[in-house]
Amino acid sequence: MRKIAVSSLFAILVTVILVFTSACGGGGGGDGGGGPEKTVSQVLRVNLAGEPATIDPNKASWAGEYTPVWQVFQGLLGFNQDLTLKAVVAREIPSVANGGISPDGKTYTFKLRPDATWSDGTKVTAKDFEYSIKRLLSPDLAAAYASFYFDIVGAEAYNGAGDKDETTKAQLKNSVGVKALDDLTLQITLAQPRPTFLQLMALWPTYPLREDIITQYGDRWTEPSHYIGNGPFILTDWVHQDHMTFKANPNYWGTKPKLTEIQMKMITDVNAEIAAYRNNELEISRVPTGTEKAIMADPGLSKEILRYPALITFALQFNVTKPPFDNVKVRRALVTAVDRVSFVDKVRNGVGEPALSWIPPGMPGYDPDLGKEYQFNPAKAKQLLAEAGYADVSKLPEIKFQYADSTGNRLIAQFLQGQLKDNLGINLTLDPMEPKAFTTLVNNENYDSAWLGWSADYPDPDNWLPELFGTGAGNNHTGYSNPQFDALAKQAKSELDNTKRLQIWAEAQKIVMADAPIAPVFYREQFVLVKPSVKGLKTTGMDGQIVGDLFLADVYLTE
């Protein structure tokens, strides 16, 4: 009797499960695609890997935020695939020759194309740009990238007026050096010349915005029905934490995209992402760190690999104010004691490039000959240590290595620990931390040695050197200070001749590498899987969250 009661419960349970699982029989479990096989579905499914905090162009500061912005909006200038500038909404790139830049380098005049339109048909005017840039600088918006544009007249003052009254704020806003002279002309005045200003104008915080829409809807303007842009796609659907859907903009003023739809999912787990790819739910997928070799050995997947260098350098950074790192010989010793080549070849399966200098290949300013003296050489490293007075390594104070805990970082940290132990006999104490605790530690300069990763905001040494190595600079957390470097940096910042400017930066980089406040380890290489049906993908070192996301309008699907 009780057997029946119990087993009937079991039977029900099993039946229920079978019904569930059989209800999803045939079909690949994927979405999108399908339908008649005559025309190939032009729906691209990619992974944004998380919900963006905001997609407001002025406020966006992380890759997951500006990738959607790039599909829906376009600015005065943009980047080509080789990272040179191109004119987008502007008719041409301003230069001294065409009068777009004043001879003293302080006034920029942009002429807009007359045919650029918003997706609802209205024309894009210079006023839209003026509104956007002033909004970017507004203290009440508290945009992250505002400080990048402090060279504009009145920008810093306006941005610093958070606690002032409304009248003062309005006055300061009016005195910001951005003016729409007429519908098609925008003039920007700088307080001092900034040779990289045009690159800054190609970045998303300066994209045009619709004052009428933002005034009417306030913070809700980024919801799909109000998110009006001037780019090749429009945002039609946003299911929070799940996915965003973009459809081709029928009113797009430029070359219409071949894709009809882009779906950006929000899968946060890398294993789940590649599982989705293999289940035909995504066309592009990242690859879990450490599995690259297995993928290269897989007969099917190996044909779908896409690799290209990213403009990202990873390095070990030292707190040069704390012993033993206040001694340059100790730093140089550690730089020389790490076998980067083995790391990249063996641990990272050849994905990436060993790095001997700071600026990565693909960036202007990359110097392949720099840093050769730091090639792996344990004997030399020991000697340098001895010269520093530490022939007996037990005399060294405890050295901690701090990093934000993640798969890749764990691997590199343990690798470094092994290297220093085997080659120098030094015991590195590993201290993984959660991300915020780590950044606070570094920003307050309470660490001994830490992991440092830097990626390009724009492709220029201007973005890679002064911020990190200038005395007291905002992102200089090594405590490094060298007046020679500072002098060169000051020169380069206002040098209007590009060749000369890059030469100055090259000299500056040499100084930094000699002083070794950081030990570059490797340059990142992107390693992703792309379905063979995807054609026309254009990758750059400046890609955001998704490969080729600067040029998704050129992508189409075959097969």
């Binding site: 070799k293 343990q414 690798f415 959660e434």
Partner: protein, 290 residues
């Protein structure tokens, strides 16, 4: 007289009796032996294994099982079998000591609350509610920020967030036992609350509590694995089974065995604790005569 004397049982205390019965339970003994073996292996691994747990061999990365490495190597070429045994130290320690903290806090709090009842019970249960509703993660992050990623932090963190369950359990047990006749009888005979609790209520309520604890040991190990998964576990290169599962999870598409082996290890330990715990429960139950 003689007949009665020969059929009555020799005098045993509750615990002595329990021990005899435990000895007869083969599964429980097997469980105990396995735990002992794992423990011994964990202690003596430096003598047995030619590898250190941190020794990297960059030419032998992510290799499957072979003669030199019976369970394969991990992403930095370290021997998995060796790390598994070193990891046993951490996992066993975390499992046991965290549970010790759980029992040390949870049992008395629950029992006290149930025995005293009334207002005091109410207030204590509300405090338990607050502990429950509390985001464990936050507490653990804070503990980690203060104590660093040491094993003591693990004990404390897991123990502090897990004791509430045992408190509720022990309170529940005591509450239902409190009303039973033998308690009334003891009280009538003049026994104090403390005596009754310690001598009668606790031993009788131990059944589900022991089961809960034997299940909680692996749960503590999992908690450690989950914490390692989100990035607030024990500092590397110290291997713990949680760390190893996490490392294996990261490369599961390339080397599934890296995750499977520590999972199997946890399973074996779990089985061992289960059999032992069952045996203990059966041995302590005075009514189970088979």
């Amino acid at each position: 007289m003689a007949v009665v004397a020969s059929t009555s049982q020799p005098h045993h205390t509750l615990w002595g009796d329990a021990f005899i019965r435990l000895r007869r339970n083969r599964l429980a003994i097997a469980g105990g032996i396995v735990i002992l073996l794992i423990g011994l292996g964990a202690i003596f691994v430096p003598l047995i294994s030619p590898y250190g747990y941190a020794k990297q061999d960059l030419d032998a990365i992510l290799q499957g099982p072979s003669w030199g490495h019976p369970l394969g190597t991990d992403a930095l070429g370290r021997d998995v079998l060796t790390r598994l045994f070193y990891g046993a130290r951490i996992s066993l320690a975390v499992g046991l000591f965290a549970q010790a903290i759980v029992l040390a806090i949870g049992l008395p709090v629950g029992a006290f609350s149930a025995w005293v009842g009334g207002r005091v019970d109410n207030i204590i249960m509300r405090l338990v509610d607050v502990m429950y509703a509390f985001p464990d993660i936050l507490l653990i992050i804070l503990l980690r920020a203060i104590l660093g990623g040491t094993i003591y932090m693990m004990f404390l963190a897991i123990g502090l967030v897990a004791w509430v369950n045992v408190a509720r359990l022990s309170r529940g047990q005591i509450l239902s036992l409190k009303q039973q006749d033998f308690v009334t009888a003891a009280r009538a005979m003049g026994a104090s609350g403390r005596y009754i609790t310690l001598r009668h209520l606790l031993p009788n309520s131990l059944g589900p509590i022991i089961v809960a604890v034997t299940f909680n040991v692996p749960r503590a190990i999992f908690a450690e694995a989950a914490l390692s998964y989100i990035g607030i576990g024990i500092n590397p290169p110290t291997p713990s089974w949680g760390n190893m599962i996490r490392d294996g999870y990261d490369v599961i598409f390339a080397a599934p065995y890296l995750m499977i082996f520590p999972a199997i290890a946890i399973g074996i330990l779990m089985l061992a604790f289960t059999f032992l715990g069952d045996g203990l429960r059966d041995a302590l139950d005075p009514r189970l005569r088979r």
